[in-house]
C-alpha cells in the first residue's frame, strides 16, 4: 500500500516538474513584459535596467531553477500587471472559478443522469432521438458560441438575466466570497454555469445511456426480471446503480477540466475567476501569474487523478492482489 502511494506521489511530482518546465519554456516565447511595464516612452537603458532587476536577463535554466525553488514555497512573486502577490490574486479569484465549476458540474449531473436514463429506457422513440441529437449539438458547439447565444437570447432579447460579471457577492470569512447566497449572485451565475455545463451534460447523458444499455443486457438484469421484480426496481435499483460507478469517475476527472477550461466561459461572461486572470496575464505577458496558474491547474489534475487512483485501490481488490504479487 505504502509503496503504491509513494510510487504515485513520485509520478505526480514528475508530472508537476514537467508541466512547470514546459510552461516555463513557453514563457520564453510569449513576449516581453518590459515594454508593457515601462510604456512607449522609456529609454533603452531604463528597459535594460528593469530587465536586469526582474532577473529576466539571466539564462533560462537559472531562471527555471529560481522559479521552481520559489514555487515550492508557494511564492510566485508579484504580478507584473497588478503589482500584487500572485498567491493573493489567485486566492481572490479561486472562489469564483470553483463556484462556477461546481455549479456547472452539479447541473450537468442533475440533468445529465435522468436524461441519459430516459434515452436508454426509451430507446428508439422520438424523445430519445431528440435527446441524442441535442446532446450531439452540446458536444460539438464551441463554448464561446453557446455563451454568446445565451447572452443574445436571455440578456439582449428577453432582458431576463445579466450578461457579465458575478454580481453581488457575500464575504464568508476573509478569504472566500460567494455568489450563492444572494439572488443577484444566482442571476449572474445562471448563464455562465449553463454555458460551462452544456458539454459535460451532453457527455454524461451519452455516457449514462451507453452504460445503461450495456448493463440492461447483462445476465443479472435478466435474472432480476425473471425473479419478477418491477421495472422500477430493475432499472433504478440494479441497473442505474451499476451504471453510476464509471459516471462518478468520469465526473470527478471532468471537474478538473471544468476548472481548467472555464477560461473561455469566464472570458465571455467577464467572470472574475482564475481563467480570466490567466487570459489577461497572457495578453500582458504577466509571466508570474501565467506560471502560477498553469502549475495550479496541473496540481488540481494531479491531485484528482491521485485520489481516483487511490479510490480504485480501495474499491477494487484485484488491483491489490496484482500489485502485491508484483511487489514480492
Amino acid at each position: 500500500m505504502l509503496a503504491f502511494i509513494l510510487r504515485r506521489l513520485a509520478q505526480a511530482v514528475a508530472v508537476m516538474l514537467t508541466v512547470a518546465f514546459i510552461a516555463f519554456l513557453l514563457f520564453q516565447h510569449v513576449g516581453d513584459p518590459i515594454t508593457n511595464l515601462l510604456g512607449q516612452d522609456a529609454t533603452s537603458e531604463q528597459r535594460a535596467q528593469l530587465r536586469a532587476e526582474l532577473g529576466l536577463d539571466a539564462p533560462a535554466p537559472v531562471q527555471f531553477v529560481h522559479f521552481v525553488g520559489n514555487a515550492l514555497r508557494g511564492e510566485f512573486g508579484l504580478s507584473l500587471r497588478q503589482g500584487r502577490k500572485v498567491s493573493t490574486l489567485i486566492a481572490e479569484r479561486l472562489p469564483a472559478t470553483l463556484e462556477l465549476a461546481l455549479t456547472a458540474a452539479l447541473l450537468a449531473l442533475a440533468l445529465g443522469i435522468p436524461m441519459g436514463v430516459l434515452a436508454a429506457l426509451k430507446r428508439g422513440t422520438a424523445l430519445s432521438q431528440l435527446l441524442m441529437t441535442v446532446s450531439l449539438l452540446g458536444v460539438s458547439l464551441p463554448t464561446f458560441l453557446i455563451g454568446i447565444l445565451l447572452i443574445l437570447l436571455f440578456s439582449v432579447w428577453l432582458n431576463w438575466l445579466p450578461s457579465f460579471g458575478r454580481g453581488e457577492v457575500v464575504a464568508l470569512g476573509s478569504w472566500w466570497s460567494t455568489g450563492w447566497l444572494s439572488v443577484d449572485g444566482w442571476k449572474h451565475l445562471v448563464l455562465p454555469a449553463v454555458t460551462l455545463a452544456v458539454f459535460q451534460l451532453a457527455l454524461i447523458l451519452r455516457l449514462v445511456r451507453a452504460e445503461m444499455l450495456e448493463v440492461l443486457r447483462s445476465d443479472y438484469i435478466r435474472f432480476a426480471r425473471a425473479r419478477g421484480l418491477s421495472d422500477r426496481a430493475v432499472h433504478f435499483g440494479h441497473a442505474l446503480r451499476n451504471t453510476l460507478v464509471p459516471v462518478i469517475t468520469i465526473t470527478g476527472l471532468q471537474l478538473g477540466s471544468l476548472i481548467a477550461f472555464a477560461i473561455i466561459t469566464e472570458t465571455v461572461f467577464q467572470w472574475p475567476g482564475m481563467g480570466l486572470l490567466f487570459i489577461q496575464a497572457v495578453s500582458f505577458a504577466d509571466v508570474p501569474v501565467m506560471a502560477a496558474y498553469l502549475c495550479l491547474v496541473a496540481l488540481i489534475f494531479v491531485a484528482i487523478n491521485l485520489v481516483v487512483d487511490l479510490l480504485y485501490f480501495a474499491v477494487d481488490p484485484r488491483l491489490r492482489v496484482e500489485r502485491g504479487a508484483a511487489g514480492t
Binding site: 516612452d41 439582449v156 465571455v268 495578453s283
Partner: protein
C-alpha cells in the same frame, strides 16, 4: 377628478425626472482595467483618464486642448528656467487635509522618482521649491516651453496622507510590498474612489466638497460612476444593448453599424489623438532577408516616395476602416500644435508614378523586403498591412508580411529587426515636439529618438528639434515644429497612413463630449 389625478401623475413624473436629473449613475465599460490607482506609477492612457476624475493636476486641457489652470491659479516665468506657480486656495483633499505648496512639491518630486513611469512628463524639471504656502517654483534644466503641458499629467497627492500610509514613492515593481496608494485614493477632484476590485468593478461617487462645484465646473449630473471592464468585445456590446451599461468606450468596429441602427443608442465619432504610419529601416546598408545585396533600397528617397504613393489610403479608409480613419501625410493629428492642413495632405495615390520612381531608382524589377505588423494593437492593424502589402506588390515590391501580438512585436521593434514596420503614435502633450523627439530625432540620450526604430538621422531635423526644445516664443516655436514636420514629410522619414477614429457608443439619454484623448470629462456628463 380625472384631471386632478392626471395632474398628480404629471407632478409625480416631474418629481421623478428631477430626482434623476440631480443624481445619476453612469455605468460604463472598456476592454481593460486601469493598472493602478497610484497616480505616479504607470503611465497608462485609460488609467490617467480615470485618475483625472479623482485626482487633479496643476493644469488641465480644456475641450479645445488648450492648457488652463486647475489647482494652479497663476503662473509666471521668472527666468527662462524658473516658473513660479500660484496655487489655488481653499482646496481640500478628500480626507479633509488642505492642499498647499508642500503637497505640490511632494507630488512633483514623487513623480520624478525613478520608480515612476511619468519620466516623460517630468523630464527637464531640475527641482521644485516651495516659496510660501500657496506658491512654488519649478526650476528647469533649460528653457522648457512645454512645461505647463507636462504638468497636466502630474497629479497632486496629499503629502500627509502618503506619509501616513507609507506611500511616499510610487509603486515599485521590483519590491515585494504592495503600496497603499495602489488601491486607495485621496485626491482633490470631483469624484471619490468608493471601491475598486481590479478587473471586476470600480465605483466612484461624487465629492460634495469639490472646489469646482462653487466654481461652476460641474455642468453635468453624474453622482456615481461605475466602471466594469469587459474583455470580450461581444459581451461588452451585448451589455450595452441589454441596458446594463450606459456607455462603451471601445466598441468593436464590426458592431458599429448595428449600434448606429439601434434606436435607444447613439455613436459619437471623433478622431483619436493617434496617427498610424509605417517606419523604415534607414540605418542598415543591407536589409536582412532582402534579395538586394550590398545596398538598402529604402535609403533611396525615390523608393520611399514610391512606397508612399503606392498606398491607396482612401481605399483603406473606405473598405477596411469603414470610414473610421482620416488619411494623413504627417505624423501628428490635427489637435496638435505644429500640424497644418497642407502637412495633412497625403501624396496622391498614383501607382504609375510610383512605378516610374522605382525605375528611376534602379528597381524597375522591384525587390523583396521584410514587413512587420502587430495584430492586436491598432484598429484593424493586420488587415491594413495585408492590403498595403498587396498595393506594394503592384509596383513590384514583395513585402513579406509577418504579424505579431503586441507583447512580442514591440520588443522585436526595439531590437531593430524589422525593415518596414507599422507603428501608431499618440501625442498626449498636444505638441508636435513629443512626436518629433521620439520618432524623427536621431537616437540619443534623454528620450531622443526613443522610438526612432528605423534609426532615421538628419542633422537638419536634429538641429530644428533642439531649437524647438529651447524656444519659448509660442508662435516661432509652432513655426519651427511645422518646419520640422515638413522636412520629415519631404524626406519621407516615415510613411504616414491615417489618424485613427475612436467611436464611443452610449445610450441616447447620455450626453457627453467626445475627446481626442479618449477621456471622459465626467463633471460635464449628463444622464437623463
Amino acid at each position: 377628478m380625472a384631471q386632478a389625478r392626471l395632474f398628480f401623475l404629471g407632478a409625480l413624473g416631474i418629481l421623478f425626472t428631477m430626482a434623476s436629473a440631480t443624481a445619476a449613475t453612469l455605468r460604463w465599460s472598456g476592454a481593460s482595467d486601469l493598472p493602478s490607482w497610484d497616480v505616479h506609477a504607470q503611465n497608462n492612457a485609460l488609467g490617467n483618464g480615470i485618475h483625472a476624475m479623482v485626482y487633479e493636476a496643476l493644469f488641465r486641457y480644456d475641450e479645445r486642448f488648450q492648457v488652463v489652470p486647475e489647482l494652479a491659479t497663476g503662473w509666471k516665468a521668472l527666468s527662462p528656467t524658473q516658473m513660479r506657480i500660484t496655487l489655488r486656495r481653499g482646496v481640500r483633499f478628500q480626507d479633509g487635509n488642505a492642499f498647499g505648496a508642500d503637497d505640490a512639491v511632494f507630488s512633483l518630486q514623487r513623480a520624478m522618482d525613478p520608480a515612476s513611469n511619468f519620466g516623460v512628463y517630468t523630464q527637464g524639471i531640475a527641482r521644485v521649491v516651495k516659496v510660501d504656502d500657496a506658491t512654488i517654483d519649478i526650476h528647469t534644466q533649460g528653457p522648457n516651453p512645454v512645461l505647463l503641458r507636462q504638468l497636466t499629467e502630474l497629479r497632486m497627492m496629499s503629502k500627509a496622507w502618503a506619509e501616513q500610509h507609507r506611500s511616499t514613492t510610487p509603486k515599485d515593481l521590483r519590491s515585494a510590498e504592495e503600496n497603499h496608494a495602489h488601491r486607495h485614493a485621496n485626491g482633490t477632484g470631483p469624484y471619490r474612489l468608493e471601491s475598486w476590485q481590479p478587473d471586476v468593478r470600480l465605483r466612484l461617487v461624487e465629492n460634495r466638497d469639490w472646489w469646482g462645484l462653487a466654481a461652476g465646473r460641474k455642468t453635468g449630473n453624474v453622482s456615481e460612476v461605475v466602471y466594469t471592464p469587459i474583455k470580450a468585445e461581444a459581451t461588452r456590446v451585448a451589455a450595452l444593448l441589454s441596458g446594463e451599461l450606459d456607455m462603451v468606450l471601445d466598441p468593436a468596429p464590426a458592431d458599429l453599424p448595428r449600434l448606429r441602427a439601434t434606436p435607444q443608442l447613439k455613436v459619437l465619432d471623433g478622431l483619436e489623438n493617434r496617427t498610424i504610419f509605417f517606419g523604415l529601416d534607414l540605418f542598415r546598408d543591407e536589409l536582412p532577408g532582402s534579395n538586394i545585396k550590398g545596398r538598402n533600397p529604402l535609403k533611396d528617397l525615390r523608393v520611399r516616395r514610391a512606397l508612399s504613393q503606392a498606398i491607396d489610403a482612401a481605399a483603406i479608409q473606405r473598405s477596411i476602416m469603414r470610414g473610421l480613419s482620416a488619411p494623413t501625410g504627417t505624423l501628428v493629428p490635427p489637435q496638435v500644435a505644429g500640424w497644418t492642413k497642407a502637412l495633412d495632405q497625403r501624396a496622391p495615390h498614383d501607382p504609375a508614378a510610383a512605378k516610374r520612381l522605382m525605375a528611376e531608382a534602379g528597381y524597375a524589377g522591384g525587390f523583396e523586403v521584410d514587413f512587420a505588423c502587430p495584430n492586436n494593437r491598432y484598429i484593424n492593424d493586420e488587415e491594413i498591412c495585408q492590403a498595403v502589402a498587396a498595393m506594394w506588390a503592384r509596383i513590384g515590391v514583395k513585402a513579406r508580411l509577418r504579424t505579431l501580438p503586441l507583447v512580442t512585436y514591440f520588443p522585436m521593434l526595439q531590437r531593430h529587426e524589422a525593415s518596414i514596420f507599422m507603428l501608431g503614435w499618440g501625442v498626449p502633450t498636444f505638441d508636435a515636439l513629443y512626436a518629433l523627439q521620439s520618432l524623427v530625432r536621431s537616437v540619443g540620450a534623454q528620450g531622443d529618438g526613443n522610438f526612432n526604430v528605423g534609426r532615421y538621422s538628419n542633422p537638419q531635423a536634429d538641429a530644428l528639434i533642439e531649437r524647438i526644445k529651447q524656444e519659448s516664443d509660442p508662435t516661432l516655436r509652432t513655426a519651427l515644429m511645422e518646419q520640422a514636420l515638413v522636412l520629415a514629410k519631404q524626406e519621407v522619414s516615415h510613411i504616414p497612413l491615417h489618424h485613427q477614429m475612436i467611436p464611443w457608443a452610449m445610450k441616447r439619454s447620455v450626453t457627453m463630449r467626445h475627446r481626442a484623448d479618449n477621456r471622459i470629462d465626467m463633471p460635464s456628463v449628463r444622464v437623463d
